[in-house]
Amino acid sequence: MLTIDAISKSYLDGTVQQHILSQLSFSIESGVSVSIRGASGSGKSTLLHLLAALDTPDEGRIWFSDSTIQASKLDIASFSEAQANAYRMSTIGIVFQKYNLIDVISVKENIFLPAKLNAQKGVPLDTDYITKLMADLGVLKHADKLPHQLSGGEQQRVAIARALAHKPRLLLADEPTGNLDSVNSELVSSLLIDTCSKHNTTLILVTHSEKVAALTSQQVFLEQGRLVSTSG
C-alpha cells in the first residue's frame, strides 16, 4: 500500500550539505507492522515526517494506494497543503514521543477529537468502536480524567487510542515509548502492535528497542541514509 521510491532528503548544515536520506526505496504491504531502527540522527523521524506529509522530500515519490478507498495511487510527496491536511486528518494517525494530548480537555474528549473532526467532514462517528478501543487499551476507566492526572504509560495508551479513533489506514509512531521505562515500554509497544493488527491498520513504528522490533512483522534498519537490512 505504501511504496517509497528513491526519496532523498538533505539539509544545509552551515555550508555542508548533509544527506539524511539518499535514494531510499522500499514498500510496505497493507496491514503489516514495520519497525524502523537506527542510530540517533540516522533519519528515522525525517522518514516518518515524509510519510506523514509533514515534510517533503528533495526528490523521489511516495506512492500511497488503498484498495478499500480508491484504486488510484496518490503521491504523498507532491501533496498540496490542503491535501496534506486532509490526508493527515482522515487517512493516518500519528503518535509522538510526547505532547500527544491536549491538557485542558478530558481523556475521552482527547480520544474523540480526531473522530469528531472527521465527523464534521461527513464520516460517521463510530462510538462503539472507540469505546471498545479504549477498553482494549485499558484507558476506559480514565475517560473523565484530565491527561496530566495519568502516568506516562497511561498517557501514551490514550495517545494510541486517539491516533486510532478515526480508523486510519496507516499509523505512524515515532518512538512512542521513548520516555517510558523498559518494562512499560514493552507493554505499551506490544499493545500498540496488537491493536493495530486487530484493526488491520498498517503500523510504522520507530523504536530503539530490539525486543520491541522483534514483535513487528517487518524490520528495517537505517544507516547513513540507506536501508541496511530488512527482515521478517
Binding site: 509533514l54 491536511n85 485542558v104 473532526l117 515515532d174
Partner: protein
C-alpha cells in the same frame, strides 16, 4: 549576561512600556507644574511680601487716581497702584494670540521707593534686597518703556507673527491692541502700539504683559485702577498696626482686604490636576502590567541560562542582583527617553490644555519653567520603584523554580483557592469603595474610591472567568469541536493572562466610564446651551454707551444682563439679572424647580430667586430654603426664597438670578446683551452701533455661531481625555500581546498536535484569535457595568465635589457598542502580529523542536 539575542523582543517591549509610562507621567507633571505655578501667583504679580490690597467696595464708586494720590500724600507709601485689562494682540489686523493677554500696569517708581523703604528698615544693603524680592524691576530700563513677558509667550507671539506675515512685510514686530472691550472713547484713532517686549523668566508670569503704569495708561487711557497693593515686609503685630492705620484713613468707598489665595480657583484647578494625575497613574499602572509581563518573558527565556549559572556555582543572590541592576539600567535609559519625549509632547498639547483650563475652569495658565533635574528625579524614582516592584513578582517565582524542581501542583484545588481569594478581594474592595464614597467628600479620597472600585471589578472578573467561559462552553453545540476546544483552552489562558486581562479590564472600564461621562456632559451642555441661547443675537460690550437706548432707536428688541459681584459667606457670588418674558422663561434649564407659575410670579415680585447648582451645592441649599443676601440695587440685606436650581455648566462661580427690576439700571454693569431681531433690524442696529463708534465685528454674534464656537471648544477640551483613553487601551492591548508572546511557547505543543491532526494553519490562527477575543469580550462585558458605575460616581460624586455641578447620566448604548468595537479592533490589530508570526512557522519546525 549576553542573552539579549534570544530576548530582544521582550527587552524592547520592556523599554517601550517604561518609556510610555515615564513619558506619560512626566508630561502630566510638567503640565501640572505649569498650570499650578501660573495661577497661584497671579495676584502677587512678581512682587513678594504683598498680603493686603485696597479695593473698591462697589463698582459704582471705583478706586480713582485721586484716591491713590490722597492716600500716598497721607504717608502710605507702601500702597502701590496696579491696573489690569485684558486684550487681544494684533499685528496688521491679524490676531496673534488666540487667548486674551492680561496687561498689567504697576506703579514701578513708587514700588521701588516702597521696597527701598522696607529694606532700609531691615538691612543696610538696600539694593540687593530690592533686586532679590522683585528681580523683574531689573529687567525694566527706565530709559524706555517696555513690557515684560514670559519667554514662552514672546516666542509664541513671534511664531504667530512670523506665520501670519506676508512676504515683504516689515521686519520689526509691530503689535497693537484692540481696545474695543475696555475703552472706546478713542475709536477710530490710530492703533496703539505696545512697548517693546522684553522676555523675563518667572513662573508667576503667564499670559501677562507687565509694564509701568504710565505706559499702561497710554494704552488704556480710560481704564481705572484695579487695586492698591500693600507692599510691606512687616509681619505679625506691626503689620496689624499698619493695616489698622490704613483702614482708619481709607475713604468709605474703599476697603482693605487680605489678598485672597483664590480659593475657588485653587480647588478647581486642584481637581483638574487630580484628574490628570489620576489618568497618568492609571496609564502608569497599566504600563507596569506590561513590565511584569515583559520581565516574565525575559526570565522565561533566560531560565536555561540561570540554570547553567547555578550549576557553575553562581549564587542565586548574585543572579538576582545582576537582574536588578539590569532592570535599573533599562529603567534609567527609558526614563531619559521618556522625559525627552514628554517635553516635546507637553509643548505639543500645551495649547489644548490651556484651552481646557481656561474654557472649563476659568483659570489663567502660564508657562512653567520645568526644572529638569527635579522632574527627572521624580519620574525616575517613581518608575524605578514601579519597575522594581513589577520585577520582584516574576523574579520571586523564578527564584523558586530555580531552587526547586517543578512540582506538579494540584490544579483543581489551586483554581478553587484563586476563585475564593478573588471573590473575597472583590467584595472587600467593593465594600471599601462604597464606604469611602458614602462617608467622604474629599476629592482625593473619592478618586481613591473609584480606583478601589475598579480593582473590585478586576477581582470579580478574575474570579468568574472560568465560570463564564464554562457556561459559554455548554452553549456551543458539540458539532463545533474546535470551537469547544478553543473555549476550553481560553479558560486555561485566562488563568495565565491574569495580569494582562486586568490591564485590559481597567482600560475598558475607564474608557466606558469616561466616555459615558463626557457624552452625558456633552449632551447636557449642548441641550443647555441650545435652550439658554434663546435670542437671535448676542452682543458683548463693556463700554459706557447705553446699548439699550441705541437698540431702541434701531427698533430692536434687546435685553441686558445686569451683573453684580458680592461676597456671600466669604465667597464670590455673581448676582445677575434674568428677563421674565415667555421666551426666557422657557429658555431656563432647571435641575430642580417648584411650581413653575408661582415661581415666575414670585421671581418678578423679588421674593424668589433662582440659583445655580454651584451655589446650592456649595452652601447646601435646597429648593424652598430662604436665603438672606444683599439686594443688588440697594445693597440692603433681604430674604429671598430659592424656587429654582438651574444648570450652569462651566461656571466656576456661584450665581443667583434676580429679575431686571432688582437692579438699578443707572449704575448696574452689563456686558452681555441678548437681541431679538430679523436681518433688517440687525442692519439698523449695526448702523446705530457704528454711529456710536462701537466695533461690533467680533462682539456681535448670532446664536448659531455662538453655539458652534461653544461646541468646538467643548470638543477640543475633551481631546485630551479621548487621547489618554486610546493610549490606555493601546497599552492594555500591548500588555495582552506581551502575554501572548509568553504563552505562545506554552500553547505550542497543543497547536502542533492540532495541526498534525490535519487542521489548517489558518484555522488554528483564527482559533487563537478567537480565544483572546473571547477573553477580551468577557472583560468588556464585565467592564460595562463597572464603567457605568464609574461614570455615575464621576458625575454624581466627583463632579459634585470638584465643580459643584452635576447632570443626568445618559447611557448611550451606541457609544458602548462603539467602545466594544474599538477595543476589540485595537486588540485584534495588536495581537495579530504574534499570532500570525507563530502561525507562519512551518509545522515541521514545531514538531522537530518539541520531539
Amino acid at each position: 549576561m549576553q542573552s539579549y539575542k534570544a530576548t530582544k523582543f521582550s527587552v524592547l517591549m520592556l523599554i517601550a512600556s517604561l518609556i510610555i509610562a515615564s513619558c506619560g507621567l512626566s508630561t502630566v507633571l510638567i503640565i501640572n507644574a505649569s498650570a499650578k505655578q501660573s495661577y497661584s501667583n497671579t495676584n502677587t504679580l512678581l512682587i513678594d511680601n504683598v498680603q493686603y490690597q485696597v479695593l473698591a467696595e462697589n463698582p459704582k464708586t471705583p478706586l480713582t487716581k485721586q484716591d491713590y494720590v490722597t492716600l500716598r500724600r497721607q504717608g502710605f507709601s507702601q500702597l502701590i497702584a496696579i491696573a489690569q485689562s485684558s486684550a487681544h494682540i494684533y499685528q496688521d489686523d491679524i490676531r496673534l494670540s488666540s487667548r486674551r493677554v492680561m496687561i498689567t500696569g504697576i506703579d514701578t517708581v513708587s514700588l521701588l521707593g516702597a521696597l527701598n523703604d522696607n529694606s532700609a528698615q531691615n538691612s543696610n544693603n538696600a539694593n540687593s534686597t530690592v533686586n532679590q524680592s522683585t528681580p523683574f524691576l531689573g529687567a525694566m530700563p527706565f530709559s524706555a518703556p517696555v513690557g515684560i513677558v514670559h519667554p514662552s509667550l514672546l516666542k509664541q507671539l513671534n511664531d504667530d507673527a512670523r506665520s501670519s506675515r506676508q512676504v515683504g512685510g516689515t521686519n520689526k514686530l509691530s503689535i497693537y491692541i484692540d481696545r474695543q472691550s475696555s475703552d472706546n472713547s478713542q475709536q477710530g484713532a490710530a492703533t496703539t502700539f505696545l512697548p517693546d517686549l522684553v522676555s523675563f523668566e518667572d513662573p508667576s508670569l503667564g499670559n501677562d504683559v507687565i509694564t509701568d503704569i504710565g505706559e499702561y495708561f497710554r494704552l488704556f487711557p480710560a481704564s481705572k485702577l484695579s487695586s492698591l497693593l500693600l507692599v510691606s515686609d512687616a509681619s505679625g503685630e506691626s503689620l496689624e498696626q499698619l493695616v489698622n492705620m490704613i483702614k482708619g484713613y481709607l475713604p468709605a468707598h474703599l476697603t482693605l482686604m487680605p489678598l485672597s489665595n483664590n480659593n475657588e480657583q485653587g480647588e478647581l484647578t486642584d481637581s483638574f490636576h487630580m484628574n490628570l494625575l489620576a489618568m497618568a497613574l492609571l496609564m502608569f499602572v497599566v504600563c507596569l502590567f506590561i513590565v511584569i509581563n515583559a520581565v516574565n518573558l525575559v526570565i522565561n527565556a533566560r531560565m536555561p541560562w540561570f540554570k547553567i549559572c547555578r550549576q557553575l556555582g553562581i549564587s542565586r543572590y548574585k543572579i538576582f542582583i545582576s537582574q536588578i541592576v539590569e532592570i535599573s539600567l533599562i529603567t534609567f535609559i527609558a526614563c531619559c527617553l521618556g522625559i525627552y519625549a514628554s517635553i516635546h509632547l507637553s509643548n505639543l498639547v500645551a495649547p489644548s490644555i490651556q484651552a481646557t483650563l481656561e474654557g472649563l475652569y476659568g483659570v489663567q495658565v502660564g508657562y512653567g519653567s520645568s526644572a529638569l533635574v527635579v522632574l527627572f528625579v521624580k519620574v525616575f524614582g517613581i518608575s524605578l520603584c514601579g519597575s522594581l516592584l513589577a520585577t520582584l513578582a516574576p523574579f520571586s517565582i523564578s527564584n523558586k523554580s530555580l531552587s526547586t524542581t517543578k512540582s506538579s501542583d494540584n490544579f483543581k484545588q489551586n483554581e478553587r483557592m484563586w476563585y475564593r481569594t478573588f471573590w473575597l478581594l472583590s467584595v472587600g474592595f467593593a465594600l471599601l469603595a462604597f464606604s469611602i464614597l458614602h462617608f467622604s467628600s474629599t476629592l482625593w479620597l473619592l478618586l481613591v474610591a473609584t480606583a478601589v472600585l475598579i480593582l473590585s471589578g478586576c477581582s470579580l472578573l478574575l474570579a468568574n472567568y472560568p465560570q463564564v467561559i464554562n457556561g459559554l462552553y455548554r452553549l456551543i453545540p458539540t458539532r463545533f469541536v474546535l470551537l469547544r476546544l478553543s473555549t476550553k483552552q481560553s479558560i486555561a489562558l485566562s488563568g495565565k493572562t491574569k495580569v494582562a486581562c486586568c490591564a485590559f479590564f481597567i482600560a475598558a472600564t475607564s474608557n466606558i466610564g469616561m466616555n459615558l461621562m463626557v457624552d452625558s456632559f456633552r449632551g447636557a451642555t449642548v441641550n443647555w446651551l441650545e435652550s439658554r441661547l434663546t435670542t437671535d443675537y448676542y452682543l458683548y460690550y463693556e463700554g459706557k454707551e447705553n446699548i439699550v437706548a441705541l437698540a431702541n432707536t434701531a427698533d430692536v428688541e434687546i435685553y441686558q444682563r445686569f451683573e453684580n459681584t458680592i461676597s456671600f459667606r466669604g465667597q464670590k457670588l455673581q448676582q445677575y439679572s434674568y428677563p421674565t418674558t415667555q421666551q426666557f422663561k422657557q429658555a431656563m434649564v432647571f435641575y430642580q424647580l417648584g411650581n413653575e407659575d408661582a415661581l415666575w410670579q414670585q421671581f418678578e415680585a423679588q421674593e424668589a430667586i433662582l440659583v445655580n447648582q454651584q451655589f446650592a451645592f456649595a452652601f447646601d441649599y435646597s429648593l424652598g430654603d430662604a436665603v438672606s443676601m444683599a439686594n443688588p440695587a440697594t445693597g440692603l440685606m433681604q430674604s429671598y426664597s430659592i424656587r429654582g436650581i438651574f444648570y450652569d455648566f462651566g461656571n466656576p462661580s456661584k450665581q443667583v438670578l434676580f429679575p431686571l427690576s432688582s437692579f438699578d439700571s443707572a449704575i448696574a454693569k452689563s456686558s452681555i446683551y441678548s437681541i431679538n431681531t430679523d436681518e433688517l433690524g440687525l442692519e439698523r442696529f449695526k448702523i446705530v452701533l457704528a454711529g456710536a463708534n462701537i466695533d461690533y465685528e467680533r462682539s456681535l454674534l448670532n446664536s448659531a455661531e455662538l453655539l458652534a464656537i461653544s461646541k468646538e471648544t467643548f470638543d477640543r477640551t475633551f481631546v485630551i481625555t479621548d487621547g489618554l483613553n486610546i493610549v490606555t487601551l493601546l497599552v492594555a492591548a500591548l500588555s495582552l500581546a506581551c502575554a501572548i508572546v509568553v504563552l505562545m511557547n506554552d500553547v505550542r505543543p497543543q497547536n502542533m498536535l492540532i495541526r498534525s491532526l490535519g487542521v489548517s494553519a489558518f484555522k488554528t490562527q483564527v482559533l487563537a484569535l478567537f480565544q483572546y477575543l473571547l477573553l477580551c469580550l468577557i472583560a468588556l462585558i464585565f467592564a460595562t457595568p463597572f464603567g457605568i458605575l464609574l461614570s455615575w460616581v464621576l458625575i454624581y460624586d466627583i463632579n459634585l465635589t470638584a465643580f459643584q455641578w452635576t447632570y443626568p447620566l445618559q447611557i448611550n448604548f451606541f457609544k458602548i457598542a462603539f467602545i466594544y468595537a474599538l477595543s476589540l479592533a485595537v486588540v485584534i490589530v495588536v495581537i495579530c502580529i504574534p499570532i500570525i508570526r507563530a502561525g507562519k512557522r512551518p509545522l515541521i519546525e514545531d514538531i522537530r523542536w518539541l520531539n
